[in-house]
Symmetry: D2
Subunit: 145 residues, 4 copies
């Protein structure tokens, strides 16, 4: 059972804005990429087209606090920590570090809560359903110190 995952990501030019830094919404895409890489590392996927249904993992909430700007070409480490785990949902704490300098610097902190959902093909309504086995059995909440 794991409760942590780290994902390396460079700030691409398209992620920046006219202020010369990564646009604040880019951090939410980085969070999601890290989360999806986490599931992939466990042999699972955040989005699955099956014969008779679609399964996904939408966000119920997301937040970010920006501590220090990051710029084009900066190397980031996105650290996920599982703070909450139920059969149908996972809550994350996220820490963004700028790496590549002499010391890593925490540049942002966030949270993200996702649920697992299923719908039939062509249906509009999603139903909250149990996490796929690989995540159910592979992920646990980190112990609170």
């Amino acid at each position: 059972m794991v409760s942590e995952f780290s994902y390396a990501r460079r700030v691409e030019f398209a992620d920046t804005d006219a202020a010369g830094v990564a646009h604040f919404a880019s951090f939410f895409r980085y969070m999601e990429e890290a989360e999806h890489a986490f599931y992939r590392s466990l042999g699972s996927s955040a989005y699955r087209l099956e014969e008779d249904r679609v399964e996904g993992m939408p966000r119920v909430s997301a937040s970010c606090e920006y501590l220090s700007p990051v710029r084009y070409d900066d190397e980031l480490a996105v650290h996920l920590l599982v703070r909450e785990k139920t059969p149908k949902a996972i809550g994350y704490e996220v820490r963004f570090e700028r790496t590549g300098g002499p010391e890593p610097v925490t540049v942002a902190r966030g949270t993200m809560k996702v649920v697992h959902v299923t719908r039939g093909h062509g249906a509009l309504q999603w139903t909250v359903t149990e996490l796929p086995a690989a995540l159910l059995e592979g992920i646990e909440a980190a112990p609170r110190e």
Copy 2:
């Protein structure tokens, strides 16, 4: 029958990059927004979920030439001209103008070719199909001067 459409769009902050100008990929989103507004003006839509199928209008090709950079808050007019029309496809010429100054300035030119496609729910394969009636009957290619 119409063969022209104009769409007004402001350059939003999230569209810019660290060079202080609208990112080159933003122009492709502007083109598509203009195209979709064109179909909406004709009572149609670029993407439709029906009971038994999904209909969409993907691009077969797209191009853009950048003549002059545009910046945050600039007002643009995106002019579409229908250059080609078949029962299943539409080819556009696109001209981007910066408005809001004393004189409009052409800042970019592009092209875009779209086809109409249909697939059953849950199917992966799309089939090229006839345009919806509103577009079939409402749009014609501009005469070549």
Copy 3:
């Protein structure tokens, strides 16, 4: 003095994801667009290139709770409520409504805190500075009921 602003925005195709709904990060771009339109309505701007300096309004934090998905072509109203106002910062509550149906439906709620910053051209470091006069004098926090 105003403490509320509403901004209309359609869900564009590029804002959606493979789950068939607006991607969660799109809501953060919508928030910012609404905020920037708010400043524009007061004769100001979120980002200004002056002779000797650049002024901007980066986010210190942002959050969003997703209550109901929105889809391509849905019409949204983004309602900003000023919850906090100091000489150098503004805190917002944001409510997203799907309009265009028989009744507006609240589909998401968020928060956003922005500060005003200045830097010389070519400098990397931003300094937190007083809001432009138009915002300083034009915006006030909403009374708490």
Copy 4:
């Protein structure tokens, strides 16, 4: 002297749209990421903040032909081929391959022409200038067969 470069990129969820495939504008971001990784591999960078100036490499034109859709989690190889090289500009041919299957499949083809530009800090006007030495000396156009 090199005239080719390949870049591996996964289709992220935020890159997809409601049609269930990578949005057409995503391919332009992939192109640029590949190009920037190319310069990085040569010890250079597409965007540089110097003491007294900013140097960048904006696109003069870009195009893409879409042959086959790609989906969330698909692995892509973006192949750049230098078709044209002058002291101030580089022209690319781009080929996108879906890898990860039994055989790689070409899913899109594009072109991109970039120039090297410089401006003083705080200036709005860019001047077309010579490529940085690492690119000037490291890149050559591929021989035409």
